[in-house]
Assembly symmetry: D2
Homo-oligomer: 265 residues x 4
């Protein structure tokens, strides 16, 4: 059951995050081409999903790897989303990028490495856009909620939290998806909580069971990376789920959501 | 679905761990009295459960806290289990205790702090009793499987793994239940995997959602601590679930197991 | 002995970081007033030190704590430093702040939470100012050196690394000063390495022994927080060393540096 | 300066741990042969050292690696130590081994994996032998001191603590030597504290700087693994320092100890 005190964040007239519905956000790690993005959007539409993710400005650990298509990536993402009636979430990497990203996105994503980049929190706090705040990969829940407060004290109440795995001593994936944190937040905090099992595991073969675990722990949504041809993905290829699996993945989530008294959208 | 390659560990003529059934082990952290143990065993029987846990020799961080009833605890546990037709799992703390514990237990538990106490692994490796090997609270999966090998190379193949949470930087509970490890083991390893959401969270309010997450990730069973009066428990009272909640807890697990194609026993 | 391959970063005609000399950077966590800053600068001058630190824009976990004096803080810091012939290091919190901070600082500090805020790395990479890059508090050395590369590939080779403690399971301080990382970097990497035992321990009573450990492990410098009245400090009061201790602290460092074949400046 | 409240643990009429002297324990990871052990003992004698380490029963993560020579290893260790007038420290792996180990050793070592193996703590607590209690590689200082209390409450006050590195997210060595813990213990606890920079780094090239850092942080002694031919060592070869380096290693420690007002023995 959805906790009665969870806030309802309106994304569009039809779509809200934090209610009985479980939001299934899908899309590629990075927008690579119109063709790649369109294939994914079409598959999402067929599966009954509504919010598409896709990175245009990619924060990459090494300066020598693919950094995203930039503004062109935003344009492609918006175009294919509009074509299939989808909403868009994408990351704002810094204060300077924010005005540009706001033109294209329905939800602004704050990335894990920026959870405590306070100038960016203040800047999105001065807008009214829904903000998805990813947990720092080494942050406590307390620090995460204080980061959210940096946003809300500037006036924007539309916070969605995203648990995306933490760095631990475990070797079961590149991160450890913290289902305890999901359960704790659903007990104690009014914001909707989304889980990102793609970064939360870092391994495509673990994404589906981790997604189920997140839902079972109480998550209000999922964000999962798909790619038409994972071995050729320009970023995060180890964790991308093959697009052809998407319908089956969504079906298994629907069955699980049903027994939890909820519905996937 | 249960993974087809998972080994089936026979505990009794009727009960096996690692098949389609999901084993729900319940019981107190420590056996405190005949009355306490009997109340729990009776509730378990009514709920259709089959394996009872209970500590007699308790490995406690501080020497000034309750260390268990010792042999008397074993006797009480066996007595109430027999009264209600239950099987028994309890911890062998060291090589010297092993012969005594083997008289009373159907499954020998190796505790988290003893995962790499090799003389004990060798000793249980020379028996044929089913062994539940708990993961060290900051051990990798690789180290865990090597510890299992210390047992199997001595001749005992009846290994059940138990994920019980790892120490991390998260503040969402005293440990972080590693659902990724459960999912990984179900992909790659033949041993049945049980989850302990009581130690895996350390907070009674998180035990139910964490238990659901573990099942959804693929666990073959659960081990949960219950107590008739948690505030008066002599050990681990923060994480004990009230016994009166047990029927509802089991019901929610049954519904979840159903959608996963499995059944709680 | 200083490693022969360490780069020499010129800060002024007289002061270089990375040579035989060990740089002892001191100052308050945050600039609170002209009086506070001047007292510290005067004590530093008397002790023969040359580089003063002090925060003007403070990245604070909670939005409800002191966030720094802002531009006024920069002005005070520069004024007292000039009065006593000191050089200045202070943090640039974001790309927007950078031009302002560059007017006042001789060394730009990139804070731990910003180690992977790539737009800021790119921006300082396009200047010629010396940059002190603090390690993320749960980052690997590999990620840290890749962050440095984000700066150098834009053209600025003047990198100073600062080890400031990592988040671990230890309860000996709020962080664990990673002396292994200092030793490793001195074996393998050309950048000078400074240690911050104030954040590296989070406890004023551990700062002196941790500072000694850092030097003994091979550090090319130290950055230590002092305050005239630690209990009244507006930020980080648990870790501030009392200003009256500064002369003795520096003396102990000088003795230790001597036996290592180096000299404190 | 040695902290005035540190207890003095007598090992022999001449040697005490916890006073002004800094004890330098050396030896191989595992005793491999009479020749190997004798070469090391001879080099130790020449360098003025007094306590030799060497493993006979090795607790190894994998069951397929060298597990030590067992009783023969103890005999060799005692023989070469007596030949060169050295004292002996070696590990008791379990309660069953303890009587045997007590015949050969002057100090009983409790290994990191056994820090919370309470039956063994109780057993050494009932002897009067000096006990070196290694910190669990994932334990807090609080848990460590409570483990020491499990020994002292049984009657044995002769505790020596050994910091040997903790598991962290750092990639600078296989463990992180926790110098903060050394400093904290010297502030707050009466037991002498030894550092093990061999396990504390896991890399032979980092052992010397880490050893210096430990002394500078206040350690009362060191335990360092040497081997005549590290590439041929049967265990822990990555971290063994070449025996030919021992004289120079000890000399550098003597110089450092001198500036700290102490002396290496």
């Amino acid at each position: 059951m959805v906790k009665p005190h969870t806030k309802n964040i309106p994304i569009s007239p039809e779509i809200r995050i934090g209610g009985k519905d479980i939001i299934f956000i899908a899309g590629p790690c990075a927008i690579e081409s119109y063709r790649q993005a369109r294939d994914i959007a079409m598959a999402m539409r067929k599966a009954g999903l509504h919010i598409m993710r896709g990175g245009a400005f990619k924060p990459r650990t090494s300066p020598h790897t693919f950094q995203g298509l930039g503004k062109e990536g935003l344009e492609i993402l918006r175009q294919v989303a509009d074509e299939f009636g989808l909403l868009v979430i994408t990351e704002a990497l810094s204060v300077e990028h924010l005005p540009l990203v706001m033109e294209y996105a329905d939800i602004i994503q704050i990335g894990s490495r920026n959870m405590q980049h306070f100038p960016l929190l203040w800047a999105v706090g001065e807008t009214e856009k829904p903000v998805m705040l990813k947990r720092g990969f080494m942050s406590t829940v307390e620090e995460w909620l204080l980061a959210a407060k940096h946003i809300t004290t500037r006036g924007n109440p539309n916070i969605i939290l995203c648990e995306r795995g933490i760095r631990t001593a475990s070797d079961a994936g590149s991160n450890t998806l913290d289902v305890n944190a999901i359960a704790l937040l659903k007990e104690t905090c009014p914001y909707p909580v989304i889980a990102d099992p793609s970064h939360g595991t870092g391994r495509s073969d673990l994404v589906l069971p981790a997604a189920k675990a997140a839902l079972a722990a109480g998550a209000d949504g999922l964000m999962v990376e798909f790619h038409p041809h994972p071995p050729q993905a320009l970023s995060d290829k180890e964790q991308a789920v093959a697009l052809e699996v998407l319908p089956q993945f969504v079906e298994e989530m629907r069955a699980l959501a049903g027994v939890l008294g909820r519905e996937i959208v």
